[in-house]
Symmetry: D2
Amino acid sequence: MINKVILVGNVGIDPEVRAIESGVKVARVRLATTERIFNRQTNESTEHTEWHTVILWRGLADVVDRFVRKGSQLYIEGSLRTREWMDKENQKRYTTEIIASDMKLLGKRSDNPAGGQSAGQGGYQPQGGVQGGYAAPASQAGGYAQPAAQPVQPAAAPVVPPAEDPDDLPF
Amino acid sequence: MINKVILVGNVGIDPEVRAIESGVKVARVRLATTERIFNRQTNESTEHTEWHTVILWRGLADVVDRFVRKGSQLYIEGSLRTREWMDKENQKRYTTEIIASDMKLLGKRSDNPAGGQSAGQGGYQPQGGVQGGYAAPASQAGGYAQPAAQPVQPAAAPVVPPAEDPDDLPF
Amino acid sequence: MINKVILVGNVGIDPEVRAIESGVKVARVRLATTERIFNRQTNESTEHTEWHTVILWRGLADVVDRFVRKGSQLYIEGSLRTREWMDKENQKRYTTEIIASDMKLLGKRSDNPAGGQSAGQGGYQPQGGVQGGYAAPASQAGGYAQPAAQPVQPAAAPVVPPAEDPDDLPF
Amino acid sequence: MINKVILVGNVGIDPEVRAIESGVKVARVRLATTERIFNRQTNESTEHTEWHTVILWRGLADVVDRFVRKGSQLYIEGSLRTREWMDKENQKRYTTEIIASDMKLLGKRSDNPAGGQSAGQGGYQPQGGVQGGYAAPASQAGGYAQPAAQPVQPAAAPVVPPAEDPDDLPF
DNA sequence: TTTT
DNA sequence: TTTT
């Protein structure tokens, strides 16, 4: 019914961005979330790093392609999906991934490893996340063919756009 | 950048559902979230109930209209919005509301006060939430004119629909 | 940095509840989240069910033991953890689980399969979730030895208890 | 039952940090969340900024005091609370605030306005959030009297610390 | 494999 | 009142 994941962490390695046959773009990001764990018994503090595999489609994959690099700090919202696959010994294996529905680049523009070279071409927009989903027109999703020349697409529709003036509720 | 609210609670009074001039439907729901607070000093347990005003547009308002009543248990996802208005003394006042982007009816079908009478007319679908937003075709949003005769619309697009087969990632 | 999962779904099979050598209780719950997916191209609606493995420790495991059964509807909050293990062929395998930090029983008391028989013994408390973590006194966590005779423990500390009167902020 | 807010945004003005009579520290932060709204009808993109008032107690207030300034980018998790108060005309007014249960400083160390001067004194720890609640020993919460000389306290207990080895589940 |  |  509800299957929601929220992550804030750092990218461990430069993302992989590909296109499937239909031309739709997809990205794979390895994200680390590190937490400090304080053991009350021993009064010691240890650290645990959890590694997540995040899959991003279409517009989100495009933003990954342009702006996300090893070290980038990201906010990710998505859902869990466990895929079944066959290994070389023909045995069933399972992999759990996060399918992203929203992504934001965190920190200042200058923090971003990819921020520099794309200036003046649409540029870096850490505040302008792009939401995935069918809402995005196909023309935006297929933008992988002309990567940096076009401006960054406007973000997808807001969460719940009021039909008219939000300050004009009939209550 | 991220403005997200998640609530699970009970509806305090039958919702108000209206349409604005354009015909777009909007609902207002008062939702209670009760938490048990345990005071470690006194070893006493008290209860606090927080009341939230949730605004739901279009398809979500329609589901409220059909299935939500006083006592309904709901999952709400949305964002905070503080509106400014003028009181009778012409003084600025502020009201904070949650603009819903997703809603789910919780519990069993038989729990729902409105579940009974609408059976056979499209019916109760506690598992099928409807997401708000521009993604919903206008024809669905304007469904308030012919309320119960049409089937419950299929839920809005999933969070991030892969372009093709989710099990056929190029990685 | 942030590793958060929120699930609302139904339990697929009666939970397993065990104790490890130290006597600490732990539960394993299989939870289904079903979503309706609407394909805009084909105008068809399909359904996808995702299965999650949720691990609950101490007080939460105790509540699972008493009140959660196949069919129960739950709210779960937790974090992702991927464990490494060796299969029979001595090959590395990975399993991703959700370590719960909060759980709530949803729906009405009468919805709950375990609600009936435990009445008068501490009883069902769908509104009183128990939060995990070291915050819970050991005496509560170890309560598995005297299961149903003691009352349900008061919920763990609230999220952020103000030191004094919440209505007496110095701002 | 569940009353949860998640925010990522920028601080609009230097926080106010006070102590109440008991000596407990409390902070008030004004946080902006800006979203880009794309109007599909007009094909125009506008921006909306929502301002939130976040209240942080004890250890979290202490971290605010040391590291948060106008411009800081923050992750906030908390719950909604609407307070009632009397204005000068003795009329009831309502104010909705977010009571924080977790906070993280986002971006790189060097992004943080307060990062510079406190180096070598316990210093900036953007990765080490501090969670609120009674779980924090009073000695940490009352640290406002000796502000910068003591090291930043270790973060509060992790979400759900397994009793023993997380890799030694009995399932 | 990131970050502090 | 922030940020882009």
